[in-house]
Amino acid sequence: MADAPTPSHAPSASPNTRPADTPTRPVALVLSAAMIVAFFAHIAAGMAAPGLMGAPVSWFFGASVHVLISLVLLTAITIASWIYVFTAPGEDA
């Protein structure tokens, strides 16, 4: 069956290559794993100890530990993403 014509703006690729042939930076795998572990640990903590996660943090406007951790995660993921992009190789993968 005929393949789709490669669009003019697309990088050329040999028929026997696929994205797996393009190496992913190890830091991408490490960051992904760290984020996933942190996120699901956050969920697990909230489900296992809702009282502890709901406890107010006096220096954080009285908001709960859960809110604090959520904001920390949002901030950390955003910063990590910017660092990842700024340190990425300049050439196309």
Binding site: H9, I43, G54, S64, I77, V85
Partner: protein
Amino acid sequence: MAPERLIAGGVFFAFTLVTLAITLVAARQAKSVGAFYAAGGKVSGLGNGLAIAGDFISAATFLGLSGLTFAFGGDMLYFGVGATVGWAIVLFLVAEPLRAMGRYTFAEAVSYRLSKGPIRVFSAISVLVVSLPYLIAQIVGSGALVESLFGIDYRWAVVGAGVLMTIYVAAGGMIAATWIQIIKACLLVGGGTVLFILALKAFDFNPAGIIASAEAVHRLGTNVDAPGNYFTAPGAAFSLGLAMAFGIAGFPHLMMRFFTVPDVRAARASTVIAITINAVFMAMVFVIGMAAISLLTVDGPHLGADGRLVGGGNMVAVHLSRILGGPAFFGFISAVAFATILAVVAGLTLAVASAVSRDLYNQTLKNGTADPGREIWVSRVAVVGVGLVTIGLGFAFEGQNVAVLAAIATSIAASVNFPVLILAIYWRGLTTWGAIAGGVTGMLVAVGAIILGPDVWVKVLGHAAPIFPYTYPTLAAMPAAFIVALSVSTLDPTPRGRSERASAATG
């Protein structure tokens, strides 16, 4: 007509006229297949990042999640953090290889080295299955919004949104959809930021006041910002977590946008901009929802005779804008929210239409030899068909929570498309039948679990208890898809399977 309705109407019609003009200009440029599907690959990283953020920050995010915060407090943050994790996974693992492929649709990306025909048929079906619940979420939100704002009947509101969406996409394709998203993203983020600042101002810029006031009036009391109020079972929370973290990479209408930029660097820039907007917006929506808890409990036109919010729980942010910003801001936020829905629906419809016209019509029926003009014509017919189906389903799902509907769509994407896409990118051993078997398994388990779950089995069909205990099916469906895809690919006894494994082994 009340002043806020006049203002909202004015803003809405102004937006409509501007975007229709963009659509007409875009239609002139959308003559080629590449321009129609992928905007010619000429969208900048910043523009594409705004468009991606616009695609994701939909009615479900702004209206639905502020409503969920209002009703259940802290559990909304699992949606917000999960979505940000999902975008980061897209950045780290998916965006670059996907853009490097230079294909137009999800099917073309998955079938990069596999057998094109069967994969395309499966992918086209999966795009439909994933996109329809998301379309329903948007169209239901539009109906509720226009109903409460203009007093127009819900069904006419749905019809209006459906017709406008059809015109946008059928005429302008991806160029129009991208520019509409960019404009909408700026308006929504701007409007949301102003609402966030006004909410802080109402409490003298003291977040502690927002928390204390919410705790004082909410039925959950001091537990209002604790987890475990919406998710009462760990399995439900983990299922939602899986959906948010992995579903975004499975949304065809979001992944399509990585084909609209000129290179991998622009794809990376797009994603990190989308991540930033998403993270900031999620935090702001949480504050908006928490502030609304105390501000919307006072009497006012936002409360009906039964003491409930007019228009339901999805209208929290809209009502708050009236209290904090007056009629003009109320009108502006309402119009922007409606425009948000319109724009997201346009992007989704384009993804579905491209699956039908490109994957089914051109690549499958015509063996990739269809006349480009004819292919675009088929796509436009598909847009009209999707528009009609969406309007019909919008009637059927009136009154459903839009955030929950959207999260269900995300869970299907995580269960059907994500396993196949990630294996296609990273595992050389994936075979054609392994991909199809895994995807179909994910689809059947996901759809089956949704039907047997609390939202359909109990709320719609009226049974006493659900057979599948969770709203979101990801906990069962996503692992099933991975296991079946891996197993079938490894054990596939067909000549094609043996050939694909041998090809993978030799590199």
